[in-house]
């Protein structure tokens, strides 16, 4: 029985895929039908996913290395004498992901129906297409977690990239009056290209791995011999292949999980519909990066004390604190969450960097739930405010209260306030999510975040696994703790600005509570955000047992992350402090004007944070524009110089030649030469025409001269030596 279901794992991603195909090809004109098909697709995936999960939960011994038999090849591609086998696998990590992904997706799917305004008049014309896209997205994530090899993992990884492009740019016809503000179509492009940078790096790593190992199947790559081999052969110098490839893989994760320095796409991805944000930031795409590092973790630890872990830890911790500072100065409700996501992903990455494998995965799971909750809650808020805006707009009389159409920003927290009364379900579930995010006891975030911090502290105390040095432990702990404070601060700020106080605009005043298909998922997710942490409490750490089992591959059984009361208290204290400060600034005296009270005291720092440390501008000036300029230069070179024949003919050719002789390198040598030959040819033809005078005696003269020359040639050739010697020159 167990085997039957495990053998069917590969079907999980196919359900949403089928839904995608059916909607795109046949039902795209029927909105309700499309909705249901998408629901059925993800629903089946959820059911099967949970069956697999619970069986793995119950019998995970079967799935651990010595006995497990669930890399199952599906098909192979010939590669010379060998072949490349592709298939699926089930292990505990897959199982856990299958618990989280389809379920969160299902919630998002249900929520989407309401969010996309099903049944109202201004229904989005591409409603069905939206469900098709998110189904494909779900397929991508599910396929990713059931893959038994890096190649299909990469394939699904990229399919998600595609979907994120399509979904972020879903409202591709939207334009804003402010030309500086990024439009959805540009955001989609940015997301795709930025992650593609990481993907290419990862692809390179994968190909190098394949070259070195000859296989991409996890079980082959992570076998003890292979890891040994990778750790003791060198890419160059004293850099082992394992380190090098691991770092390249990490490049992919940096892109996908929006870590510094490739984080820039994620906040702009907020241009997409909110369920998309939830999908991308919570359940799927961004966690794929963490999943990749977790999945290839054996590779990261193959070299004891290698630099790869230090890089991972540093990037993670730095990103965590870096992006939480930005979140402090954002006014867009979704952008705050976006930076918060980057920061939380930094937690996970940093945890992996100090070897806290289980804690990272745990945080990944809990975070998925509460972040999905928060995003959907914010979506509900925006939705409400938009409706309120419409409402007030229709009833407003007189010039005051009348805002220009298009300038009103429903995402701006400055336009909200006091929404808890108007939208109680949304508000309370949002607060639950916020508590989980900030790691307040006993919500889920507390347990997972605490486990990371405890592991970091323990590393500092005792030295870590896999040769991670103690100092790294301290570094990570310190940064993450500060980040915890900031997290609590900006989350509190968000809550107070949004829900507390009095409505600052007419829109907020008239915002209605969302429809049940939106609120029910919030409630369910809130329940999970509250209770899920219990799976990983220090006293009954089921989660550890399960995931730790798959970590046996790592050659060293991970030690139980001990509960450290001091650390727990410190982090809780820091979090509470954050809430308190936020309350003092934003909650104690609710804002009446849409200006952040911190703007004045922080001055230029606030501007810096508000502008995200100017990263977009730097990239624009440092990478994008030079690339475009280079492209323009190539184009000009090709189109103007090379393809068009140079008009001025010989004169220009002469100048060109002299120029070329002067500086022989940086000139159009390529095809200019070809056209040059053409010109010389033409010129020669002209010259020869001039000899054709039409006068027959001239012709005869030419003939006579030729005869003379030929005779002279012979005479010189034969007698010149004699003559020379006769003259005493020979």
């Amino acid at each position: 029985m167990t085997e039957t279901f495990f053998n069917l794992t590969w079907l999980i991603p196919l359900f949403p895929l089928a839904a995608f195909a059916i909607i795109v090809l046949w039902t795209n004109r029927h909105r309700l039908l499309s909705t249901w098909i998408a629901w059925i697709g993800i629903g089946l995936a959820w059911i099967l996913g949970w069956i697999v999960f619970f069986q793995a939960w119950g019998g995970f011994e079967e799935l651990t290395p010595p006995t497990h038999k669930y890399p199952v090849p599906l098909f192979s591609i010939p590669t010379g004498t060998t072949s490349l086998n592709l298939g699926f696998q089930v292990d505990t990590l897959t199982g856990v992901m299958l618990f989280m992904v389809p379920f969160v997706c299902l919630m998002i799917f249900i929520y989407s129906k309401g969010y996309m305004n099903y049944g109202t008049k201004d229904v989005d014309p591409r409603y069905s297409r939206f469900f098709a896209y998110i189904s494909l997205f779900a397929c991508g994530m599910l396929g990713l977690v059931v893959s038994d090899n890096f190649l299909t993992l990469f394939v699904f990884w990229e399919i998600m990239g595609l979907c994120s492009y399509l979904l972020i740019g879903f409202w591709f016809d939207k334009t804003y009056p402010d030309p500086k503000r990024i439009t959805p179509k540009e955001a989609g492009l940015k997301a795709f290209l930025t992650t593609r940078v990481g993907d290419v790096i990862m692809l390179a790593g994968m190909l190098l791995l394949y070259s070195q190992v000859g296989s991409l199947t996890f079980s082959d790559v992570f076998s003890q011999e292979t890891l040994e081999q990778l750790a003791h052969t060198y890419a160059w110098g004293n850099v082992p292949w394992a380190t090098f490839i691991a770092l390249l893989f990490f490049g992919g994760a940096v892109g996908k999980s929006a870590q510094f320095p490739l984080h820039v796409w994620l906040p702009d991805a907020m241009e997409g519909p909110t369920p998309v944000s939830a999908l991308i930031h919570a359940a799927t795409m961004v966690s794929a990066g963490v999943y990749l590092v977790a999945r290839s973790f054996p590779l990261f630890v193959a070299v004891e004390g290698g630099s790869q872990l230090a890089v991972v830890a540093f990037i993670g911790a730095f990103t965590a604190i870096f992006s939480s500072t930005i979140a402090v100065a954002q006014n867009d409700i979704k952008r705050v969450l976006a930076y918060s996501t980057i920061s939380q992903l930094g937690y996970m990455i940093a945890a992996l960097g100090i070897g806290a494998y289980v804690a990272a995965v745990f945080h990944l799971i809990t975070h998925a739930f509460f972040k999905a909750l928060l995003f959907m809650g914010s979506g509900s808020v925006i939705h409400g405010v938009e409706h309120g805006h419409h409402h007030s707009h229709h009833h407003a009389t007189g010039p005051e209260g009348h805002e220009e159409e298009g300038e009103f920003d429903a995402n701006d927290m400055m336009n909200m306030g006091g929404l808890l009364r108007r939208m109680p379900v949304t508000g309370w579930t949002f607060i639950v999510g916020a508590l989980a995010l900030t790691g307040i006891f006993p919500w889920a975030g507390f347990w997972s975040k605490d486990e990371i911090l405890a592991d970091a502290w323990k590393t500092f105390q005792e030295g870590g696994h896999f040769g991670v040095t103690a100092n790294w432990g301290f570094f990570v702990w310190l940064l993450l703790t500060i980040a915890a404070f900031l997290t609590a601060f900006y989350t509190g700020r968000q809550i107070f600005l949004t829900f507390a106080g009095k409505p600052r605009t007419a829109a907020a005043e008239h915002a209605p509570e969302s429809v049940p298909s939106m609120t029910w998922p919030l409630v369910i997710l809130a329940a999970f955000a509250t209770l899920l942490g219990l799976a990983g409490t220090p006293w009954a750490n089921q989660f550890f047992e399960m995931i730790g089992e798959s970590a046996v591959i790592l050659g060293e059984r991970l030690a139980h992350g001990e509960f450290n009361l001091v650390i727990a208290l410190v982090s809780s204290g820091v979090a509470l402090a954050g809430w308190v400060v936020a309350w003092l600034i934003y909650g104690f005296r609710p804002l009446t004007v849409p200006v952040d009270p911190l703007r004045r005291p922080l001055g230029p720092i606030y501007t810096l944070l508000e502008n995200k440390y100017y990263f977009d501008e730097i990239y624009q000036a440092g990478i994008v524009r030079p690339a475009i300029r280079l492209a323009q230069a190539c184009y000009t070179f090709d189109d103007k110089v090379v393809i068009d024949p140079i008009v001025d003919g010989v004169g220009r050719f002469g100048r060109w030649l002299s120029d070329w002789l002067r500086r022989a390198v940086d000139n159009p040598i390529v095809d200019g030469a070809v056209n040059g030959v053409g010109r010389v040819t033409t010129w020669f033809g002209e010259f020869m025409r001039a000899t054709q005078t039409g006068k027959v005696q001239n012709y005869l003269l030419v003939a006579a001269v030729t005869v003379f020359l030929l005779v002279a040639l012979y005479v010189f050739r034969t007698y010149l030596p004699d003559w020379l010697s006769a003259l005493g020159l020979g």
């Binding site: 010379g80 290209l193 184009y635």
Partner: protein, 536 residues
């Protein structure tokens, strides 16, 4: 069975003769006849696809007969893993091209169909030839109809006459040098037979070293072949005929140009240049890596030019330069790994990747050209942006380029969907056909020449950039502006894909998706070829 290849190749010629008999005013009969005839090679090529035994290396359906016995030239044809898919591709694109053209070509229909079928014969002939003279004859036979197709049916503003002659002369210039090399081979080894030459040469082969070990001659002959093929491929810096020719040709002509004619060069590399001159090829890929450098330049330079390009068709033309650069990189890696037993699998993979790139580029870029034709037929314009008189894009007050279209994604969803699939296949999205080619090319290259491969993967980013930023964004995204559309197109009607356009595109889209998900059947063909070349 031994006549199968002959039948495939010469049925179009029969079509030419039949079309010739129909009076030129009876366009309906001409169209039906032309399309009908073109289905015969397609069906036969499909049969060939399935009848070919992939487990067996070596040539199948081989047929040999005297042609010019005085100089030992034979009518020697055969199919192997390399040629079977390409023959199928040729037959398919021809049929689709004819279907598409039967709706879009309005003048001189008879000539068009006649030339198109003649062209098909030339292309198919190249793929089946196993004799150098036969190869050369077919190689050049295709030139003339293509020249006429570009010149007659090109759009006047694209300077079709100039482009046509440029195309012709470029190819001819390359191939006459090849002719000298062919003759050279004959005088040293006494045969024009490709099979004998490719298997008999070498220090232990019955024919001895190529050119009897005279390295100067061998190198000269190698370059003669290589340049002839490189012009067709086209490899930077021999690419400059391509943008002009592709832009000027009528839609179906561009499809064939990009889909098949470029592959003739690629085919030549793998069928002739590499097997006959492996040492020389290897030398210039490994010891003195000129060829991989040119391949990288093609990839990056081609992609960069695309990014600055505003003419949609020209852009796609340049994308071919970039894409065929991947092909060349794969061939370089394969050549560099030739004869090294530890690289035999990597070389085979690189060669598989290169061959896949040929096939996939054929269906993908062929499809893209069809899709460009779709917008051009409606709008009579291909500029992505509103252009000023000097050919520079106009900008608004915020210095943003003013798109000429935009918003078609909303107005023509079907077109948008098909275009998206094709565009993503073109940028190598996993799950679509283009990916596998790039994957295997880089797989081989990363093992054999990692630095080149590392540089080459950068091209992937640029490719994504120009396809999504330039094409998709300017054409489909943004808000549809009816005023602007009317201004750009002079009041043309905007309709979504029509049935014939769907019929043309769907087979290609299905192939992109099918071979994207399950490439094994295709790779099996190429692998059987690569095994013969690199195995053992």
């Amino acid at each position: 069975m031994e006549y199968l290849l002959t039948l495939i190749t010469f049925t179009p010629l029969l079509g030419v003769l039949l079309v010739l008999l129909v009076p030129k005013d009876d366009e309906r009969t001409i169209k039906n006849l032309g399309i009908g005839i073109s289905f015969i090679p397609l069906v036969l090529a499909t049969y060939l696809w399935f009848a070919y035994d992939k487990g067996q290396s070596g040539f199948q359906f081989e047929f040999i007969a005297d042609w010019i016995p005085a100089i030992n030239v034979n009518y020697h044809v055969g199919a192997d893993g390399l040629s079977v898919p390409l023959m199928f591709l040729t037959a398919l694109l021809t049929t689709l091209g004819l279907i598409y053209s039967s709706y879009t070509i309005k003048q001189r229909v008879k000539e068009f169909f006649l030339l198109f079928l003649l062209l098909e014969m030339g292309m198919l002939g190249v793929f089946m030839s196993l004799d150098l003279v036969l190869f050369y004859v077919f190689w050049e036979v295709g030139l003339v109809p293509m020249y006429l197709l570009i010149g007659i049916w090109g759009q006047p503003k694209d300077r079709p006459q100039y482009s046509a002659i440029k195309f012709f002369l470029y190819t001819l210039a390359g191939s006459v040098l090849m002719l000298l090399a062919i003759l050279g081979l004959y005088f040293y080894h006494g045969t024009f037979d490709i099979v004998q030459l490719s298997q008999g040469l070498g220090s232990e082969g019955p024919l001895g070293l190529v050119f009897g070990g005279n390295s100067a001659l061998a190198i000269a002959a190698f370059w003669a072949f290589f340049i002839a093929f490189a012009i067709k491929v086209p490899l930077w810096p021999f690419h400059t005929w391509l943008p002009d020719a592709h832009t000027a040709a009528p839609t179906a002509g561009s499809v064939i140009l990009a889909g098949v004619l470029l592959k003739l060069g690629g085919f030549g590399m793998l069928r002739i240049a590499l097997p006959i001159f492996p040492e020389q090829f290897k030398f210039y890929c490994w010891d003195v890596p000129i060829i991989p450098i040119l391949a990288l330049l093609s990839i990056v330079y081609g992609a960069l030019v695309c990014m600055a390009q505003w003419d949609l068709k020209r852009l796609i033309a340049y994308s071919s330069v970039s894409h065929m650069g991947y092909y060349m990189l794969g061939v370089s890696a394969a050549a560099a790994g030739w004869g090294v037993s530890s690289y035999s699998d990597a070389a085979a993979m690189a060669s598989n990747g290169a061959a896949l790139q040929m096939f996939n580029h054929g269906i993908i870029t062929g499809g893209l050209f069809f899709l460009v034709g779709v917008i051009y037929d409606r709008a009579h314009s291909r500029d992505l942006a509103l252009m000023d008189a000097e050919g520079n894009p106009l900008r608004d007050k915020d210095n943003k380029v003013l798109p000429a279209f935009g918003g078609l994604g909303k107005m023509t969803p079907y077109y948008y969907g098909i275009f998206l699939v094709t565009a993503f296949a073109s940028l190598g999205l996993p799950g679509l056909a283009g990916f596998w080619a790039e994957f295997f090319v880089f797989r081989g290259a990363f093992e054999i020449m990692p630095w080149f491969a590392a540089f080459g993967v950068l091209g992937i980013i640029f490719t994504a950039a120009y396809i999504l930023w330039k094409i998709v964004q300017y054409l489909f995204l943004g808000d549809f502006n009816l005023e602007r559309w009317k201004e750009v197109t002079h009041d043309a009607k905007l309709t979504d894909l029509m049935t014939f356009e769907k019929v043309t595109m769907w087979p290609l889209v299905l192939l992109m998706i099918g071979f994207g998900i399950y490439p094994t059947p295709l790779v099996d063909f190429f692998n059987s070829f690569a095994q013969k070349l690199f195995g053992g």
